[in-house]
Symmetry: C2
Subunit: 109 residues, 2 copies
DNA sequence: TTCAGCTATTCGGTGTTGCTATGTACCAGT
DNA sequence: ACTGGTACATAGCAACACCGAATAGCTGAA
């Protein structure tokens, strides 16, 4: 969708991925494919992998290497307790933002 | 609110300021004060001024210098036609994001 | 057998953005 | 003179998403 989306994804993409992982474990390639499917057509593969490395280093997810039938081994990520707490914080921050913006939008119309 | 908010504001803060300006003209100091009042307690003054310079250079706003009784002259910004079009785009992008996230949130609960 | 194509991950370099810290300047009241 | 509120500007920094390219395993067609 362009530059606006790129900038808006900063900060939220992390939350999106954590939210996905809160439902089920997943690996990078899979997450990227799912996001593209959901309309995030221009999300770069490299972006997701970098993000996954980041949240792993922060201790928000656990990782398990699982062999694949169709290619190199997958790195399967799952949200741990710390990750869930962080995701909670994310939702709070997100809620705050959406409330302010919703208010501004109503005023503007 | 912390680091999460800082990252989330990237991309949205611009939209917030444009949305404010769509309702009425305003100057930097005023906008900063208003944002703090609305709960964006940690938004830095410099951030707003830099943002205003940016959107001016992109031709989204018109500027008028107005003398103040209480200090140096104010730079009063008002949204022009191009700015309104850009704000429309912003709302579309924002809507898309909120819909996806709302969906993810429901699935997670 | 080789080569294209899908699966799957990694990494270096770039541009944009918000924050920190600091500086400038104007004015009123003490 | 000095403090404090008003008002704007800017240099340096960190974080993040994007781009492009590389690596590597597997399968099926030529």
């Amino acid at each position: 969708m362009g530059k606006q989306m790129t900038e808006m994804l900063k900060g939220t993409l992390e939350g999106i991925v954590l939210a996905i992982l809160s439902g089920r474990s997943a690996y990078g390639y899979e997450i990227t494919a799912w996001l593209r499917d959901q309309g995030f057509s221009d999300i770069a593969e490299g972006t997701i992998y970098a993000l996954l490395v980041r949240i792993e280093q922060r201790g928000l997810v656990d990782v398990e290497k699982v062999p694949s039938e169709k290619g190199p081994p997958r790195k399967v990520y799952s949200l741990n307790a710390q990750g869930r707490a962080y995701l909670e914080e994310f939702w709070k921050t997100w809620s705050f933002l959406t409330e302010r913006l919703e208010q501004l939008r109503e005023e503007g119309s």
